[in-house]
Structures are given as C-alpha cells and as structure tokens.
C-alpha cells in the first residue's frame, strides 16, 4: 500500500499573522512556521497503515523553499521520501489553483491512498480533499476519525453532528483525517538523523507539467480586494461573584435581550 501524505507549512498560531500589504497574500516570510497540526495526524495515520500493510509513505508539499523544514519533520517521523513543489510562480495561488498543482504532482506518483489533514490553520477552508477528489475523479473520504484498509477497499468513520457515518471506497482514494484519529509520534533523534539522508525531490512547475498561467496570484479564481486589521476585542464588564453571580449573568443577558 503506497501512501502519499499532503503536508502544509503554516504560520504558527502564536505568531502575529499578517497579510502582505502590497499583494494581500499571506505573509509567510516574517513569521515562525510549523507543520499544520492536523497534518501530523495524517503522517501518523499513514505510518500506522504502512506498519500493517507495507509499502512506502511519500510526503508531498507545495510551499516556498523554507517548506523543506516541515518536510524534514515529516520525514523524521518516519516517512520514506518527499516531493516538494516549489516555484516562485506559485505565489498567491488560491485553494482551487493549489488543488490543480497538487493534482499534477500526484499524477507523477503511484499511490493507493492520499491522506491529508481535514483543515489548515491558516486558510481554515477545509476543502483540499473535495477539490482533489473531484479533479482526479477519485473517491473522497473526508473527516475520518478512523481508517481501515482491507485489500483494495478503504473504509472510514466520519464524524457527524450526532454520531458518525461509515463510508467506503475503492483505492486509489483521497482521505482527510481529524485530530481524534490517533496520537502522532514525536520524531526520535535517530529519526531526525535519518531524515537528512532520505530522498527529497524538488519540482518546479515545468517538472510537474503545471501550466504557469493556471497558478499564482494574477489568475487566482478568488481575489482579495482589500483587508483591514480588526482592533482586538475589548474586555467588557468583569464582576466578582458575591453569591448572586448567576443572577448577575442572567441580568446581563436580559439587558442584551439574549434571554
């Protein structure tokens, strides 16, 4: 079972995240970056399936040059190799364009399963797996809290508001996972050393057969017109409980017509 894991490098939530004033894209240069947290769960799930089924785990990431740091982390967790799509022409690509570019990269690989995170902390769009599935004509199994593989059949439990659905598809399939699925391992010292020697292929647009006019800011199907920084929320009234705290809260809610 060959598995591709899609890993995204994102600004750390703790960092002050900004948009670039000149072209209104995410400022990735001035902030600390980390692996999108849920993607660690995606890597972990791939490694667990591999331990059971054999095959190779390949990391795929589209990111500027410093994306290598995040790719190395995934390799140090235990993935076998990586493909890094990096080209200045990708700057400013939106989700739809990113799915086109990632689909092209996936087209250069042989896989049974693609595993992604359910949502990235920067965009919070949570649409990469449906976009990819639709493009590739492959099944989309999104929001998995459990994945089981049985021959050429993948089955997931998918979280719903009041329980879960069991959804099944044939490989190759595109799966996204939620945080409940497992507990990601920490890279070991040995893993970190080994990661430095693992194969990492860097692709440009041309290498992946990506048409330059279908990616990048200028041709993005969604465009940011303007943005503004919102003043942080102001603290309101703070009241100490004197035995009538519950009543005080109720009075506040009533004053706001919320009850």
């Amino acid at each position: 079972m060959n598995i591709v894991v899609l890993v995204k490098q994102v600004p750390d939530t703790w960092a002050e995240r900004k948009l670039d004033a000149t072209d209104k894209t995410l400022d990735r240069a001035s902030v600390d970056v980390v692996m999108n947290e849920i993607d660690e769960y995606a890597v972990e799930e791939a490694l667990r399936i591999q331990a059971d089924q054999g095959g190779e785990v390949t990391i795929v990431s589209m990111a500027p040059d410093r994306g290598v740091e995040t790719i190395r982390k995934a390799l140090s967790m235990g993935a076998d190799k990586a493909v890094h799509l990096s080209d200045p022409a990708l700057h400013g690509s939106d989700a739809v364009q990113t799915s086109y570019a990632l689909a092209k990269v996936l087209g250069t690989l042989e896989y049974d399963l693609v595993i992604a995170g359910s949502e990235a902390t920067d965009s919070r769009m949570a649409i990469m797996t449906p976009l990819l599935a639709e493009r590739l004509g492959q099944p989309q199994l999104s929001g998995a809290r459990k994945v089981t593989v049985d021959g050429g059949t993948v089955r997931i439990e998918r979280q719903t508001d009041n329980g879960y659905d069991v959804v099944e598809a044939s490989t190759p399939a595109i799966v996204s996972v939620v945080e409940k699925i497992n507990e990601p391992r920490y890279p070991s010292f040995k893993g970190i050393m080994a990661a430095k020697k693992k194969p990492l292929t860097t692709l440009t647009l041309a290498d992946a057969g990506i048409e330059a006019d279908r990616v990048g800011l200028a041709s993005a199907p969604s465009q940011v017109v303007e943005f503004s920084n919102k003043p942080p929320r102001q603290a309101g009234q703070i009241v100490k409980d004197e035995g009538d705290g519950g009543v005080k809260v109720a009075e506040y809610l009533a004053s706001q017509k919320l009850v």
Binding site: W14, I38, G163, V166, E168, P232, V239, G246, V249
Partner: protein, 317 residues
C-alpha cells in the same frame, strides 16, 4: 432579476436555520432559488417559499444520500449550467464547503468560504486568523460560489412563489465513488448542531470531569443552545470530540457564546472569537478569556452556573 441558487441544509425536508439566512441574503443579490437535495426534499418547498424562494429545485434521487457529496455537487453543477445564476450560496459548514468545492471544480468557478457578509456586487467579507483580520474578497472566474457562515444574518420572512421544479440528474461513476454504508447515531440529539446554533455553551477543564457536564447541558437547554467543549475537555474524554471548539475543532460564530471553566487559550479563541457576545465564567480573574468577554463573572462555576440556569428558568416563567 437574475437567479441566485441557495443550497439548502435540511434534515429530511426540515430546513436548518442557516438555509433561511442564506435565502434572506440571496434576496439582496437577485431572485433566490432554493436547491433541496435528498430524502424528504420536496417537503421543504413551502417553508423555503416563506423566506423568498421563487423556485425550489428538488432532487430526491437515492444516490444523494447513498454517497458522499459527489451527487449533490453533480446536481448543483447541472443547475448552474442550465440556469446561469449570478451566484451560488452554500452554508459554510463541513458539508456545504465540500459540495461547494466539488461544484467549483466541475464548473470551473472560484470559491470563497467563511463569508460573514456579502455586498450586492458580490464582495464577501471574511474574518481570518481567528477574527484579527477582516478580508474583502471576490470570485474572479466563473459563477461565484460563496460559502456563508451560519448566523451571519438574521433570517427574515418574505413570501416567494416557491414553484417546485423536479430535477432529473445523471451521476458519473466518480460522483458515486464514496459509498455511505452506515449512519450511526451516538448522541440522542435534540440540541442544535454546534456550527449552526445561535447560542453555544462550552465547558472546559474547569468542569472537572465528564459527570459534571450535566451542568453545562442544563444551562444550554435553558437557552436552546448547543454544547461545546475545549480541547482539554475533549482530550480528557469528558465530552465528544465533535463538540470541540477551536483551531482543531469547529468554528462557531453564534449570537451568544458562554465559556464555562475555559481559560481562553489562543487555539480555543480561534474557534469562537467572532461570536457576537461572549460571556465567561471562571474562578481565575487572570484567565485570558476575560480579555475578550463582554461580560465576565469571576466565580466558581459549580455555584454560578446552576444559579444562572435557575434564573433563566424563572425569567422564562
């Protein structure tokens, strides 16, 4: 005026509130047409007409509930091609975004998610980075597909004709690639879904254990609210994971968010910061949640919250 398609979120023909909100918004953009898909869809027509739907496109093909999102996107894409609407509005929840995304690829459109406002020239307002930056954006190619967050606008009734049109759809093999083999109900339900609720009451580590979540549930029920939880509470197994609010949980933007025994870590805030009114109950006056609370009560939740629930009960009579 040109048509605006609204993808209706419903449970066996009972539309969720977000559907009425989307119809209300759609009236500002053109003539709203509701698209209702799946089991019981035709039962929704009258209710949707009350909120301005001039047309109600109905498709009850079995495939729609039998497979994940692919068939819904196929119907929506077919309607876009046939009707050339000026825009398509979908709910910005997990399913709405997935259907929207697949549809965008099918018809070659751009998609915007998490819109909280929309101007008549289709510029969407989106809060990003946990609400610290507000972005105005636009779809530049194809028919704009815009996912709008629940609670972005108040639903206002306005009668529409509600003419029902049955849609006959054809599905490709790849639309039917992910088969739903079972639907398991774990919780009894009865409470609104977290993402759509206009009031959310969340409990955190301060609850002290699963057995105490009844305190939060009782308050939620007195307000008709959904129940949320911090990651500390879901990780401890005190409350189901699907109720987690925050960076790695759900994003909520209700009229009222009540945080009980939650410190207000940045990752929790990321999922609730855009709530209209925030109330916090915490015994630690230094808890960061108070920095963004409109009303903060410093006290022990085990006495304050039951008293609050009782007081709300009294006021309701």
């Amino acid at each position: 005026m040109s048509e605006v398609l609204v993808l209706v979120d419903h449970v066996e023909g009972a539309p969720k509130k977000v559907s009425y909100e989307l119809l209300t918004l759609a009236r500002e953009l053109g003539t709203p047409s509701a698209v209702v898909l799946g089991k019981g869809a035709s039962a929704a027509a009258e209710k949707l007409a009350a909120y301005g739907a001039e047309k109600v496109y109905v498709c009850e093909a079995e495939e729609i509930d039998g497979f994940l999102t692919g068939p819904k996107a196929a119907v929506l894409a077919q309607l876009i091609t046939e009707k050339s609407p000026v825009a398509v509005l979908v709910p910005s929840n997990a399913e709405g975004k997935e259907v929207g995304a697949r549809t965008a690829v099918k018809v070659g459109s751009g998609i915007i998610t998490d819109a909280v406002g929309l101007t008549s020239d289709l510029v969407a307002e989106q809060p990003i980075f946990g609400g610290t930056v507000s972005v105005k954006s636009q779809v530049a190619s194809g028919v704009p597909i815009i996912a709008v967050r629940p609670n972005s606008t108040a639903p206002v009734e306005a009668p529409g004709a509600g003419t029902v049109e049955q849609v006959t759809a054809t599905f490709s093999d790849s639309d039917k690639a992910a088969k739903v083999v079972d639907r398991v109900i774990e919780s009894k339900g009865g409470r609104p879904a977290l993402a759509d609720a206009s009031v959310v009451v969340s409990g955190g580590r301060g609850m002290g254990g699963a057995e105490n979540f009844g305190i939060v549930e009782a308050l939620a029920d007195s307000l008709g609210a959904a129940v949320g939880a911090s990651r500390a509470a879901t990780d401890a197994g005190w409350y189901p994971h699907q109720n987690q609010v925050g960076q790695t949980g759900q994003t909520v933007s209700p009229q009222l968010y009540i945080a009980v025994g939650i410190s207000g870590a940045i990752q929790h805030r990321a999922g609730m910061q855009t709530s209209k009114t925030i109330v916090a109950v915490n015994k630690d006056p230094e808890a960061p949640i108070f920095e963004l609370a409109d009303f903060g009560l410093v006290g022990d939740l085990f006495t304050v919250v039951p008293q609050l629930t009782e007081e709300i009960g009294k006021r309701k009579g």
